[in-house]
Symmetry: D2
Subunit: 309 residues, 4 copies
Amino acid sequence: MRLDEGTSGVFAIAATPFLPGGAIDEASVDRLTDFYVGCGVSGLTILGIMGEAPKLDQAEALALSDRVIRRAGVPVIVGVSAPGFAAMRGLAHGAMASGAAGVMIAPPPSLRTDDQIISYYRQAVAAIGADVPFVIQDYPLTLSVVMTPGVIRAIVMEHSSCVMLKHEDWPGLEKISALRGFQREGSMRPLSILTGNGGLFLDFEMERGADGAMTGYAFPDMLVELVARAGAGEREAAHDLFDAHLPLIRYEQQQGIGLAVRKYVLWRRGAIAHETQRAPAAGLSAVARAEIEYLLERLGRRDRRAVLG
Amino acid sequence: MRLDEGTSGVFAIAATPFLPGGAIDEASVDRLTDFYVGCGVSGLTILGIMGEAPKLDQAEALALSDRVIRRAGVPVIVGVSAPGFAAMRGLAHGAMASGAAGVMIAPPPSLRTDDQIISYYRQAVAAIGADVPFVIQDYPLTLSVVMTPGVIRAIVMEHSSCVMLKHEDWPGLEKISALRGFQREGSMRPLSILTGNGGLFLDFEMERGADGAMTGYAFPDMLVELVARAGAGEREAAHDLFDAHLPLIRYEQQQGIGLAVRKYVLWRRGAIAHETQRAPAAGLSAVARAEIEYLLERLGRRDRRAVLG
Amino acid sequence: MRLDEGTSGVFAIAATPFLPGGAIDEASVDRLTDFYVGCGVSGLTILGIMGEAPKLDQAEALALSDRVIRRAGVPVIVGVSAPGFAAMRGLAHGAMASGAAGVMIAPPPSLRTDDQIISYYRQAVAAIGADVPFVIQDYPLTLSVVMTPGVIRAIVMEHSSCVMLKHEDWPGLEKISALRGFQREGSMRPLSILTGNGGLFLDFEMERGADGAMTGYAFPDMLVELVARAGAGEREAAHDLFDAHLPLIRYEQQQGIGLAVRKYVLWRRGAIAHETQRAPAAGLSAVARAEIEYLLERLGRRDRRAVLG
Amino acid sequence: MRLDEGTSGVFAIAATPFLPGGAIDEASVDRLTDFYVGCGVSGLTILGIMGEAPKLDQAEALALSDRVIRRAGVPVIVGVSAPGFAAMRGLAHGAMASGAAGVMIAPPPSLRTDDQIISYYRQAVAAIGADVPFVIQDYPLTLSVVMTPGVIRAIVMEHSSCVMLKHEDWPGLEKISALRGFQREGSMRPLSILTGNGGLFLDFEMERGADGAMTGYAFPDMLVELVARAGAGEREAAHDLFDAHLPLIRYEQQQGIGLAVRKYVLWRRGAIAHETQRAPAAGLSAVARAEIEYLLERLGRRDRRAVLG
């Protein structure tokens, strides 16, 4: 259950369920974990941006991590991005001690030059230890750090513990092609590439060479089916399935309120008891809820998983 | 043919056609103008970001503006955003002298506070003259300037010449609702709201109260039909049409390469002779072209406008 | 020993001393605390940006805070800025339980509009409790959040626990005048204003109405004297003293390496045992050290405190 | 009178004088040009950020450039930074036709990666022509583009027409040392380095290997003397002179109002008829003017050039 460069499939970016008062909703943590596993995911990723990780304190983060890992029975990646290396080290060691499959590290928004990014990952590896498998989170839209394919290659080649890219550049299709080109020409060793962005480009990302998805779209079962169909070469079926979900995927992928949409749908699917987010949080208006219901109704005509009663 | 707060429909954000060597392709300018008008648009918007306006020098910009306005026979909005007010004034006066319906002004990326934004539009109006109808361009994703509904209201109420919002916030549905709420409660006078973002949320934007779209999606004829159906209350038909186009809309809406996709499709539709952009420009790989062709083929099964032969 | 709107004088932004291996150097923490108190400061501020707070984990932060507060015998402000409110609450309650005089809160870099800033402080006060005195940290150069005087007034008027501004806008002299103007006209209640920016404008900040300084310049004894002379109306003497130190103040105020300069001088003055910073850290070249020595030598001719032997 | 890698001395960043109504004040343009030349500068740089270049339209820019070049009798560098390459080419060719010594190009704020920066200068050289000597403007504080020494070297080695760096990184002393190190080790050909930042670090920049200054401090005669003394190895005299001016240099170096301070002092020195800036502009309060007068009075006791009567 350790992450390696051959890891593939769907890793659900897990939401963190809260009670209306703001405490972690442990019953829903368990229920949601079971829901994801029941959807057929290959693994889970917890304590990412969409898991509201920065809103937890360190003790909460470690307790949540331990709870999910013990229950899931599938590999769990733990986000350990932190403002400093002491906190990152504490989170990483705690998570690995609980049985995590690996950790995910996002670059801090202040990084600009290629050298700064490469140097940051060097310091991060020094902090967490060279034996902890890690995932590069490449998410310029939110983090404002732009990594070229060459920078990613440099990090991969410097650290044997770098086994996966969470690919979330935008646009990003050519980046997948460039990285797979590096592998073909022999200038980069194999790397697992799982894609994010809520699945908004997953149809073509699989065709470009992605190994699967790591994202939190509220129908992970659809993601699992899509990745399977794409892997089996069923192009038309994969696109048909994708296109049916795209109106909702697109709606969920709105910056700022995307997590509210996602939690609402997870709640409607019975996976969590409350759609609560911790502050600061953008809520949904009544009109937005009605829009989501309309999208679900339309989707339900093409995919029975969306018939929620 | 002057813009006012009652303006509605689709204003196509016009691409600027270039010859392979980089000069403006005047024949294609005419052909593209005719194409847009033939699509049934209510107007055109030229010299916007997607019209590669910053890549033209002032003489080119004025000549292009004059050519399009004389040919179009529909209202034309001219983008006059510029690093300084002298250039803005020159462009605005030249465009209005050619017969433009109004001008569009984006805030410079350095603005931060509410006061700075309001003050900027005050200076812009002083520069172009209080008699020139103008459009606020609200596009935080690219411009990094965030305008609250309250700031937009303040600008609208200060300047009677502010008659339209190019709405391109992201997410933006609640912003439309908030502005329409201001009008209902009587705290803001009527304002035309045309939405952008490549049409990615146009289905719901119309339902929230938008007056139409101002965007450059390469099927403006579809946008025209969608706005008409939404206006006629044909909700299901509008969403069916929208959903058929969404995979391509989404593909075209990729930051950085979106304009290349758009020009490719316009070229495939015969609206321009070359897909050339001026430098700096991101081109399309062979794989990307094949992806677009595949999207067009799939779309053609549901909308004959996409059967391109 | 609770912070209030009448607090004045010099609050030293305390460096955090580390051993060469990176652990907190507790002996130097004590020695440095005694050094600051011996310089005549009115209080200390710990766990700020220049105290390398983000590099400590929460347990280290609380232990350090407790140690300094118990030893200092002067009011101690504790920085509690954190990526989320759970961590902020934990730090704030821990610090106040140890006897802190108040806490300091910086806005997260993602905030843009006036409303977002005001709302953030509302949520922060909800998190830490309305009874905890707090300081607004206004530092646009590093945080990229721009607060107008009007926004600061709104926060002050909404929360009686907001008693102090750490003024670090740049330029900032007019901001002090504007805020004092608000007080004179009766639209804002009294507010303590202590200025930062390494003291680079302290000469005029005092004349504009600041109550003192909150900064980490390695000669806090000079800051104390300067504030006293300014308070006594000894304008020429204050400027003479300031001008003598300005070459070094300026050198220490370099973004990125400023803290290295400051720790070097503190080490040369015997206040800490090592100039170590935790990673990531910019070190000093041999040439830079020689430059600092030269500045100290020149300063020593005009201020005996800089004769270090 | 063409710029090359051996160019040294002081290039004054020229202010652009305006009449109270906002038109260019041609008489003051001439008077200011004569003033700079009378100060002993080696050259002038016009149409930079502090020359309010973005506020001029292209015709004004070319006319101003022509007027200054014809009058100056010293080499003139013309800023040609523009939102697009068409405008840049027009400015560059116009300026060179008027007899400019070279042009200066700043990177647009959107650039992030090393490759993007290098590629931008490649496109710029293609636009202006490989025979036009150019200066890289490296000014991260305002432009938010960070160039490593390695990126600068790559640009220098790719383009023989790249002959000068306007050095304005912050902090920047180590960057000068790194670039001179490249030259010593033979990995970079010689490059003229003139430093900016209002002269705030000029004392040590000269010692690190700068060839002079390119900045707009309102006492260019002092900069000339300082560069001469530093070149003659008169270290103490250079620092004494620098330290006398530092309080005013520091005051002038405030972001946002620095240009207002500079124009005020130029006006007080009789070099321009009005301190007018074009909008948008930050003005000086009465208190700020009094502060500058006080700084001039104090400076006048140590440097007779500041005795203004």
